[in-house]
């Protein structure tokens, strides 16, 4: 009878200890999941911050900038860059600027959507420089879009500038 009682106690304690261990394991998992969900939010916030700061200064970087103008994109240079864009892809889904999309859109004078390529340029209004992902969150900035034009009547070359937008897309971490 005494032996049975003691065995019962040991069984009770073993069950209790298993329950305590499961409880701690669950609490641990909860802490980790809360921690990691915060990490994803932090990573997305950092991506957002990067995209906003990048888009505000991208037009001044040497691959985009116009001669002697600030906040201006040289479309002729961008067309040359578009032809060399593979050199700017550092691996499968990473590129020199660390964002998933870079797009330049002419907003004034407006017109129907024509994507820029070697055939349509300069009579086009959307230039997709990097388009790795179609979804994501966009940061944008207004810029001047300038290119060289030849005036055949007066035999002179001049800078033709229009109003545009540069869009940088970054991926939301799921």
């Amino acid at each position: 009878m005494v032996k049975n009682k003691a065995q019962m106690k040991i069984q009770q304690m073993a069950f209790m200890l298993i329950a305590v261990m499961i409880f701690f394991a669950l609490v641990g998992l909860l802490i980790l999941s809360v921690g990691f969900s915060g990490l994803k939010e932090k990573a997305t916030a950092l991506q957002e911050k990067n995209a906003i700061l990048l888009v505000s200064k991208l037009a001044n970087s040497p691959e985009f900038s116009c001669p002697e103008k600030t906040n201006c994109i040289d479309l002729d240079k961008i067309m040359a860059l578009k032809n060399n864009i593979n050199n700017y892809k550092t691996n499968k889904d990473k590129n020199f600027w660390g964002v998933s999309n870079i797009e330049i859109i002419k907003i004034y004078p407006g017109g129907k959507f024509i994507e820029c390529n070697s055939e349509s340029y300069p009579n086009c209004n959307t230039l997709k420089l990097i388009s790795e992902k179609t979804t994501g969150i966009t940061a944008e900035n207004f810029v001047s879009l300038c290119r060289k034009e030849y005036d055949s009547e007066n035999y002179l070359t001049y800078d033709k500038c229009e109003l545009g937008k540069i869009l940088v897309k970054y991926e939301k971490i799921q």
């Binding site: 106690k9 040497p62 002697e68 032809n83 060399n84 550092t90 060289k148 034009e149 070359t157």
Partner: protein, 311 residues
């Protein structure tokens, strides 16, 4: 019979206690292990976020046409910033790692945050609570990038007998740890001299900096500052990366030149850009910057007087 039963009960109680103590110890051990792991993960998360944030904050230093600009950076705790540089790939890589001082101990290095479009010049590591970030464009002959110089408030520099434009620039930047002259310099201040030997000697016209046994070649003021503020290995690696970007930009300008020629916009730069590209491709090390300096000057002048400027 009664005696035996009592003995059994004693055995049972002591086994129960033993069992509880062992399992309790295991639970406590696992809990402490988990807690330390969680703290370590949290610490390395903080460091990774800090390193990434630091890199992102360097974005606004793309200066456009400003000559140079300086920004202070105040951190929460004493931090070591490790500037990592790798020259492999089309552009090489800039890495940043940090370690923080907590309870008088330096934490293990955090996760490396890397960027392809940044060029940071500093000591390895640079340590402090307040840092100064100063940037200046590097042109070779077109703008290649803005170079970023990172110094801590603990590193003080003074420039003795610097050429007038450099002394003016330093006064204009107004960075607390940089002095345009060495008149009030204390013993800890690193003296940079232009016409006599001291901690760092700059041979300005000859284009090299002498730092102890190391000789670092430079072209232009932005690389001169880079050679002064950074360690030899970092300097050489970053200049190699800059030359890689120069080559890519030269390819783009060559293509732009072809694109513009039908629009009555001739520059006569194609052959020179080709020569620059092949020189950079065949370069053994960063010292090619000195050997192509004449070609760079020629390209610069041709672009300046061309019908249409390429940059």
């Amino acid at each position: 019979m009664k005696k035996i039963s009592n003995k059994n009960a004693q055995m049972n109680i002591s086994f129960g206690w033993l069992f509880a103590i062992i399992v309790g110890a295991v639970i406590l051990f696992l809990a402490i292990l988990l807690a330390t792991k969680v703290i370590k993960i949290g610490q390395s998360e903080e460091q990774a976020v800090g390193a990434k944030e630091f890199g992102i904050l360097l974005n606004p230093l793309e200066t456009g046409f400003e000559s140079a600009s300086s920004t202070p950076l105040q951190l929460r705790v004493e931090t070591k910033i490790y500037n990592k540089c790798s020259p492999s790939g089309n552009f090489g890589k800039q890495g940043i790692q940090t370690s923080e001082l907590s309870f008088n101990k330096w934490s293990a290095l955090g996760v490396e945050s890397s960027f392809e479009n940044k060029y940071l010049f500093s000591k390895y590591p640079t340590q402090g609570k307040k840092f100064y970030i100063f940037s200046k464009p590097f042109e070779f002959p077109f703008k290649v990038s803005d170079l970023i110089y990172l110094t801590s408030e603990n590193e003080k520099y003074c420039f003795d007998n610097a050429p007038e434009d450099i002394a003016d620039e330093l006064s204009q930047i107004n960075q607390a740890n940089l002095a345009a002259d060495c008149l009030n310099a204390d013993a800890e201040t690193i003296k940079i001299c232009f016409n006599k030997n001291c901690d760092i000697r700059v041979y300005y016209n000859e284009g090299y900096v002498q730092k102890g046994p190391d000789t670092l070649s430079f072209e232009g003021d932005s690389l001169m500052y880079a050679a002064i503020f950074s360690d030899k290995d970092i300097y050489e690696c970053q200049v190699e990366r800059l030359l890689k970007r120069t080559k890519q930009l030269a390819e783009i300008y060559k293509e732009k030149d072809l694109l513009l020629s039908p629009r009555n916009c001739k520059t006569d730069l194609g052959a020179d850009l080709d020569l620059l590209i092949s020189n950079l491709e065949n370069a053994q090390d960063y010292k090619v910057i000195s050997s192509v300096s004449e070609l760079i000057e020629e390209i610069k002048n041709k672009n300046k007087y061309a019908d249409c400027e390429l940059w």
